[in-house]
Symmetry: C2
Subunit: 148 residues, 2 copies
């Protein structure tokens, strides 16, 4: 019988990323934290200029965000690197707050994933706001590179 408290095993960084965005859009802090590694020092830099180190601080922070704010967002991959145990995704996120049709951001985002005994997990999210004169269209031909 599956244990509902047992986090999913993500077989690719893309699976982990999809789960992260799903939890973010649901406003579910526990589901969002379940995507992060429990075995490593984890880091989250918010676009507000706050850096959080450690799972508990990151969990508290997202709980606080979700308690007041409903987020919808779309993300586009800019580039990525991956080898056996680490993966890095650069993304551009467009964020909508509540029912607003006016996008916030875009945000520039670097996600780092690490592969361990429990599959691929997020170990770092670094998000920062684009300047106001940033072109709103991200590069559509997202490059990628898998290292062997």
């Amino acid at each position: 019988m599956p244990n509902p408290k047992r986090p999913s095993l993500y077989t690719t960084p893309e699976d982990a990323e999809a789960a992260f965005y799903e939890a973010l859009q649901k406003g579910d802090a526990d589901a969002l934290i379940a995507v992060w590694s429990e075995d490593e020092e984890v880091v989250c830099v918010h676009p507000t200029g706050t850096q959080l180190v450690g799972l508990e601080l990151i969990r508290e922070s997202w709980r606080s965000i979700f308690s007041t704010t409903r987020l919808r967002l779309s993300s586009a991959l800019v580039t990525r690197w991956q080898d056996m145990l680490l993966a890095i995704h650069h993304l551009v996120e467009t964020v909508f707050i509540g029912d607003s049709q006016t996008p916030h951001g875009p945000l520039f985002v670097t996600h780092v994933y690490s592969r361990g005994a429990h599959g691929w997990r997020l170990v770092s999210r670094h998000a920062s706001a684009a300047s106001e004169n940033h072109e709103s269209e991200p590069k559509s031909d997202g490059a990628s590179r898998i290292l062997h």
Copy 2:
């Protein structure tokens, strides 16, 4: 006879990072660009909220910065991940502009290094400004994790 145009071969990500900071403090855009990979899509996100993709745009940007601004800075490692081919360093940078004794920042920085035929090279720098109420002292016991 060594070819002065031939970039150095960095045997560790730390060597590449030291060369990056040395070039940055000298205001030498060519030396700074020599630390980046020529073989991969490279990304630089400035704390001003500009994202540059590709070596030439990154070179132009640093040339422009160095043409008007002399930078001094100190950096402290927050955490890092490394395996065979990729390394990620999270740092906090304190920046001094010109002769000012008043620090700007701190900046939160994610550096990504890739190991290729020419040793370890920078493939991504993501820097963003800390909020004003961020504690100025970075964590001194920089954690690190080498994956095997």
